[in-house]
Structures are given as C-alpha cells and as structure tokens.
C-alpha cells in the first residue's frame, strides 16, 4: 500500500513540475480566456437594452428577462461557466489515450504494476491544481471587476456547498467521460473525429454556448436527461439560484450517478480493450 501511494505521489510531483515550467504563458492564457466574455457582455447588453425599451413601450416581454435571466444573470452565467469548464474540461485526454493505444505505448501499463486510468487521473489532478494555483489571481481579478453583474450577491451557504461539490464532481465526470471516448480507440484506431463530434455536442449540450433554459421545450427536456449539462450548466445554474431546493439535490444525485456510471464504463472498456489489444513491434 505504502509503495502504491509512493508511486502516485511521484507521478503527482512530476506532473506538477511539468506544469510550472510555463507559468507566465499560463497566466496570460487565462486572462485571454475572458476576452470572448467581453464581447458577450456587449452583445447581451445591446439585446437587453432593446428588450427593456420595448418593455417601457408596453410591448411583449413584460419583465425584461430572457428565459428568466436578467442581463446581470446572463453575464454572470457566462463567467460561471468558465469556472465550471476550468474543472470539467480535459484538453488532450481523449487524444492522449487514443495515441497511446495506437502507438503501442499503452503496453507499459500492461507490464508495469501501474493502473493507466489511475495514473492519468493523478496527472490531471496535478495539472488542475497547478492551474488553479496560477489562475486564481486572474479569475479573482475578472470576477471582482464584474461583481456588479452578480445581482443577488453570494448565494446562501448550503447552495455554495452544492456548487463546490458539483464542480468537483464535474471534474471526475469530465475525466471519465473523455477517458471512455479515448478508450474506444481499442476498437477504432482513429478517434479524432469522434473527439471532434464530442467537442461539438459538448459545446451546445453542456450549456457552454448559452443557458440551457433558452432551448425550446422538447429539446430542452431531452438535453436535461443527458450527462453533458453537469459539465458547465449545472454548477452555474445552482450558483445563480436557477435550480434550488429539492430539485438541486436531485440534480446533484443524478450527477453522482452519471459519474459512477462513467467510472464503471471506463473500467469495463479498459478490461475489454486490453483483452482485445495486440501489440506489435518494438
């Protein structure tokens, strides 16, 4: 057991150091990430402006909201989604796994007493931790500048707890979901296109593009059943009080269920895949 912990610890340290090499680039990159939000702020400003003018003239849309979102909520939503994505997005994971399978590098996990998924997870945790360490400053700065968009201020403590929990779960969900797609590489050697389709679906269905309440009724109901919404929409909606009370706890339970489902699925895919795998050459 102690040896095992030592192994993980070493992986962890290596990954941390790997990441700290490019910290300057990193901080700049994080700030750049908010640039699209800037255009979003102006776009929605222009839209809500027209709505409130129409409202003053007694036209449709009596309360100046879009699907229950005030202007501030809308901007706050986009900001919070960036936080969700900071937890749930796994750049290069699918590709990495598929590449290892294709190139045969995966063999090292078959002969060493190290679990591939565990190893990758440790690396991700390390990378994410370094990311938060460096990104907290730019994030805090941007959120402080944008504090007026958070119309209702901080949510109550129980909501905060659910918010943080859902973020942590979204990390695990994102990891195992993308790992599953990568592991499909045991069956199809080329999963780049699959990853592409996933990215596309994810952008729309996770609520990264816009709040899911904006989707028309039947599609919205369907999207609510999918796991994607926990990768971006759910934590943000909880924070903004769009999902509250019992509904919030049910949502959290469903998120846990999805996470467990993908953990098990990743295990199954790994075991089946390894059985199927044949390594050639070097």
């Amino acid at each position: 057991m102690a040896a095992r912990v030592m192994t993980w610890w070493t992986f962890f340290q290596i990954s941390i150091n790997e990441r700290l090499v490019y910290r300057g680039d990193f901080m700049l990159g994080t700030l750049m990430r908010f640039l699209p939000t800037l255009t979003q702020i102006f776009l929605w400003w222009a839209i809500y402006d027209v709505i409130s003018t129409n409202m003053a003239q007694g036209n449709e849309n009596p309360n100046g909201e879009i699907a229950g979102y005030r202007y501030g909520d809308m901007v706050a939503y986009y900001l919070l989604v960036i936080v969700s994505r900071a937890f749930s997005s796994m750049p290069g994971l699918t590709r990495g796994i598929a590449d290892q399978i294709r190139s045969g590098e995966v063999k090292k996990f078959l002969i060493q007493p190290v679990d591939m998924l565990g190893c990758l997870l440790t690396q991700r945790v390390a990378h994410k931790l370094v990311y938060y360490l460096i990104a907290t400053l730019p994030f805090a700065l941007v959120f402080w500048i944008c504090r007026s968009f958070f119309v209702d201020g901080w949510p109550p403590i129980d909501v905060m707890v659910v918010f943080v929990t859902s973020l942590l779960l979204s990390f695990l969900l994102g990891f195992f979901l993308e790992a599953c797609i990568g592991l499909v590489g045991f069956w199809f050697l080329e999963v780049t296109s699959l990853g592409f389709i996933y990215m596309l679906l994810n952008f729309l269905l996770s609520g990264h593009m816009f709040p899911l309440e904006l989707l028309p009724g039947s599609i919205g109901a369907f999207v609510n059943f999918l796991p994607f919404k926990y990768l971006a929409y759910f934590p943000a909606a909880v924070f903004l009080g769009k999902i509250r009370g019992t509904e919030m706890y049910i949502g959290l339970a469903v998120e846990i269920a999805w996470t467990l489902f993908f953990i098990v699925l990743a295990r199954v895919l790994w075991h089946r895949g390894v059985k199927r795998y044949s390594g050639f050459g070097g």
Binding site: M32, L38, T39, F42, A67
Partner: protein, 284 residues
Amino acid sequence: MQPSYLNVFLTFARNSLIRDMSFRMNFILQCVSSISWAVMNFGLFKIIYQHTSSIGRGSGWEENEFFIFLGTVWVINSLVQTFFMANAEEFSELIRTGNLDFALLKPIDTQFLISFPRINWAQLPNGILGAGLIVYSLIQLSNDSNKNLQLSLAYLPAFLFFVACGAIIMYSVMIVLSSTSIWLGRNQNLYTFWFYITNFYRYPMEIYQRSGIGMALWGTFTFVIPILVVSNIPARVLAQPLGTPWKTWELLLAGYTALAAVLSLVASRWVFKRALLSYRSASS
C-alpha cells in the same frame, strides 16, 4: 526568369485538393463539423430573436439584417480558413524546425510561397452556406413590406469588393501574427489568438459603441487592428440596416476600409521582411 505566380498557385490548389481527397472521410468530417458550428450559431440567434426585435437600440440590426451579417461573417471566415489559416500555422512550424531555409532558397517571392501552399478545401462549404444564408435573408427582407430595401445587381460588385478588402485585412493580421514566431521562437497560440481576435468581428460594431471600455474596444479594433470593418462594411452594403442613402459616417468608414486594406497589406509586407532579417535558421 519570372516565375508564373498563377501557375504555382494553381499547382498548390491542385495538390491540396489531391491531399484532401486521399483522406476522404476526414475531409467529410471536417466539412460536417465546420457546418455544425455555423448551424449552432444560427440556432442561438434564432432563439435570441424570439426575445428581441433587434440587436442594439436603433441600430437597425433586425432579424433578417442580422442574418445577412452572419452570412457575411461565415463567408469571410471560410475564405480565411480555406486560404490562410493552415499556411500561417505551417509558417510558424517552418520557422521552428528551420525548414524555412528551403523556402528562402526558391526563386520566387518568399511571402507568396509561404502564404498559399496549403488550401484547406474542407472549409469552403461554410462559405457557400454563408452565401446561401445571405441570399435567403435578402429575399425575406425584400418581401418585408415594412422595409424599403433598395437593391440592385450593382450592389454585388461593391459587396465583393469589401469582402475582398476584409480578406486582405485578415490575411495581413495573420501574416503579422505568424511572423512574430521568428522573434518568439515559436507561436503555439496562433490559432487561439486568432479565435480571440475574430470574436470581436462576429457581431455588429454598434454593440461596442457605448461606455468608455466599449468605445476603446471599438477604436482599437477599427483603427489599430481594423478587424471590425472586415465584416461590418460588406454586411452593411447588402443589409442596409439604416436604409439608403448611406449616412456620411457609413461612407467614410467604407472609404476607410479600402484604405485600411491597402495599409495593412503594406504593413504586413514590411513586418514580414523585417522578421526575415532576424531569421537565424535552426538546428540542421
């Protein structure tokens, strides 16, 4: 002997097409994915226009006008991605690996040689889709009895002219960006950076024309890096959000766009040459 630039360009185009066709599945998937992005974007604005009558008060960007704008953005995006994007990335790579040496040795203008070798045909369908959206929205607009759209075929050359200006500006921005990799050693963030910059031209510029920060953004992206006029001016030619005849500022901005295209092309040429002077190959 003068090399025939046209023939070289056509050979590049043919080679790229052959290359694209040898990975046909990949080609189709690329087409599908870029079209899906566009359709998703379209869907978002369809939803938005169920809640609002226009984007920006008094700006005239109502639904059909805006979709002409969106179509124009797709057309320009597709031109840039088809002809320039892959090449700019390749240029950064040539610098990093030192393979630029071979390009410098060839008896043809180096900027031409690095600008066009790879034509990404898979990005072209998006532009066709954009043209379709423009035509469709124009028909809708001319059937709208509340609007008095004055349109004749004479507008087409003007539209194409400003689209060309836009493409030239985008090309120049890209060459400047990728030339920086000569000084920086490598520019991994080229695509990301391009994505962030183009974010600004995807919406009518009126949305920025309010508040101090907005005006600063508008000024920067009109006069320093002139990317707002890339999409706004051609779209205005067809959509005429404020009707005809054009207001004085619209005319001025249109004249400025043509000037900006020339200036940015000259500037990019200058930066490119300067950058080449600092090139010190690599490894070997």
